[in-house]
């Protein structure tokens, strides 16, 4: 049985209104399902509160089919519709379904856009930050070490736990929406010290030095350790945000890694011993030249034709550094008539890209800088796309499967070359 503080009992009893009572009820059911004994307080929640497809709105038509109905019935899993107040926690909205301006180009209809715009207005009206990104930490929501968070989005979760030392489970839509009202989440899993220790070791024997290599190492790692916590050690080059971002997203998609340690690199791994919490590695995996080559093959298993008609960058959403690099690589060239180049980021980062002239450089070259979403989330690719080139292991894991297309994995430079030539010439450098 989960035990409640006085404040939590009061919320359940309706002292903060019906919506918070419903949220508390849902969280108690969730805590009991987990076997959690108490809640932790959180003031950092990232989810997709109340955003819904027209199908769900239609389903709740009898209840009004509006934001209030969807938030009550779906997000809070409530049997009745209640008034939804402004959220209490620092709350942000993760990625959404389309670019707020380039949605036509993404193949969205007027009706879909109207649905999107309505939801976004409601999100804002409820005091939720409209970040619209899978990288809130690049858009002004940076947790700190030890901070209890309630985040969705596997690539953001693994970043928060591993790179920052924040504490979050991989939450779902309903638990994050409820946490926005209650500022509570079950004290289970990554909120607790003993859950955060490593279980398997990965020995890195080939130098791993840019997002392409970090992405491959991540993909290998997730495949090896599945959803346990790996401790990596060895020839890992200087860390940076974008390297961690690509590693974590890859490991979360090939396995289900929600936290990793890198000895001497991540905050909870000053030593291998501390990363394992005094325990021993259950299994040791070796990432050597052969493993690297196998990983490359796997990532490129769905590539056959070298005629690339679509290049998508920005999974997870590109940082300003990556946008600058892409702009630099394409300046003076242009996207081939037989191809397209879409780059995804957050609105916050795009504001800096606009001010820094990168958006203009990209557009002049025929590329598009888009926000809010990505091709996998919105199932949006240019019409007729058959072969995509991608610099993200996560995206190559998902996009070809979702869209039934071929996909190549390579470096950012190889992808931009492919966009400019319409041909894939990527290869694994020794």
């Amino acid at each position: 049985m989960v035990s409640l503080t006085t404040a939590e009992q009061a919320m359940l009893d309706g002292e903060q209104g019906a919506a918070t009572a419903k949220a508390m009820n849902l969280l108690i059911r969730y805590a009991e399902a987990l076997g959690a004994e108490r809640f932790v307080e959180t003031n950092n929640v990232a989810g997709v509160p109340g955003s819904s497809t027209p199908w769900i709105k239609e389903y709740y038509k009898a209840d009004g089919g509006d934001y209030r109905a969807i938030f009550s019935r779906f997000d809070l899993d409530s049997d009745e519709v209640v008034d939804v107040p402004r959220m209490n926690a620092f709350s942000c909205h993760l990625q959404g379904g389309m670019d707020p301006e380039l949605w036509r180009e993404q193949g969205m209809t007027e009706a879909q856009h109207a649905n999107f715009a309505y939801d976004e207005g409601q999100v804002a009206a409820h005091g939720i930050q409209v970040m619209k990104t899978c990288t809130p930490y690049l858009a002004g929501n940076v947790p700190v070490m030890g901070e209890h968070c309630a985040w969705m989005e596997s690539s953001a979760v693994v970043f928060c736990n591993s790179v920052i030392g924040g504490r979050t489970n991989c939450e779902g839509r309903e638990s994050t929406s409820a946490a926005m009202l209650t500022k509570r989440i079950p004290d289970w899993g990554f909120h607790r010290d003993d859950f955060r220790y490593g279980r398997h070791a990965v020995r890195v024997e080939v130098p791993v030095d840019d997002i392409f290599e970090w992405g491959m190492l991540g993909y290998f790692t997730g495949d090896a350790v599945q959803d346990t916590i790996p401790v990596l050690d060895g020839a890992i080059g200087a860390p940076s945000l974008i390297r961690h971002k690509h590693f974590g997203a890859a490991a979360a998609s090939s396995g289900g890694v929600e936290m990793y340690h890198m000895v001497g690199i991540t905050p909870e791994a000053p030593s291998a011993e501390r990363a394992f919490g005094g325990g021993k590695a259950e299994e040791v995996f070796v990432y050597d030249a052969a493993a690297r080559a196998r990983t490359y093959e796997r990532l490129n298993a769905v590539g056959d034709s070298r005629d690339v008609d679509f290049v998508m960058l920005g999974c997870p959403h590109y940082s300003i550094e990556q946008i600058a690099q892409a702009a630099h690589l394409i300046e003076g060239r242009s996207v081939s008539a037989s191809s397209a180049l879409w780059i995804f980021t957050s609105r916050a980062v795009k504001a800096t890209a606009d001010a820094s002239g990168f958006t203009r450089i990209l557009e002049r070259a025929g590329a598009r800088l888009m926000t809010d979403t990505c091709s996998s989330i919105s199932q949006a690719v240019p019409p007729g796309t058959r072969v995509a080139a991608l610099d993200s292991a996560k995206q190559v894991h998902y996009l070809p499967a979702i869209m039934g297309i071929e996909g190549w994995y390579g470096t950012t430079a190889e992808c931009i070359d492919a966009a400019c030539t319409g041909r894939w010439a990527g290869r694994l450098a020794a």
Binding site: G35, V48, D77, E153, S154, N169, S175, G189, G256
Partner: protein, 147 residues
């Protein structure tokens, strides 16, 4: 005689309630974890992940017996939508607890148990008849189908 008794006497496993309620039906068993977003088509309850052993199979109206959840944080949202679409399983039995599967069971509102004193993935086969008692935290298995 004894063979008949074996077929009649159900196996009872005891574990922990995840979601209350009692339901029984035919088991659908997989040794592989299941992805929600990108892995399941909510409107039909069908597994769509390429290379999954249940690819093309629907869990609608079955007792789903599986190791647990994997993949995107959209897991609960997909299974929640399956409930609305009427394609949810009747009940859930799983072995590895995660936030994804816990929340999914809660919002699907189907009887669910875990932490059983025998391995349901070894003891239950697709087609067995299974009663999941979320209140008591037990699973009762009739090998070979409805008793």
């Amino acid at each position: 005689m004894s063979a008949v008794i074996d077929e009649v006497e159900p196996i009872v496993l005891t574990g922990r309630r995840v979601v209350e309620g009692v339901a029984e039906g035919e088991a659908l068993v997989t040794q592989e974890t299941i992805s929600g977003w990108g892995g399941v088509h909510a409107m039909t309850g069908t597994v769509i992940e390429s290379r999954h052993e249940l690819k093309g199979v629907s869990f609608a109206g079955k007792v789903l017996v599986f190791p647990g959840a994997k993949g995107s944080s959209g897991w609960s949202g997909v299974f929640h939508t399956a409930r609305l679409a009427g394609t949810a399983p009747l009940a859930m039995v799983f072995t590895t607890m995660t936030t994804k599967v816990a929340l999914g069971c809660v919002v699907m509102r189907v009887p669910s148990v875990t932490d059983l004193d025998g391995d349901p993935l070894a003891l239950i086969a697709t087609g067995d008849w299974v009663r999941v008692d979320g209140d008591a935290g037990t699973v009762t298995i009739w090998k070979g189908g409805r008793p």
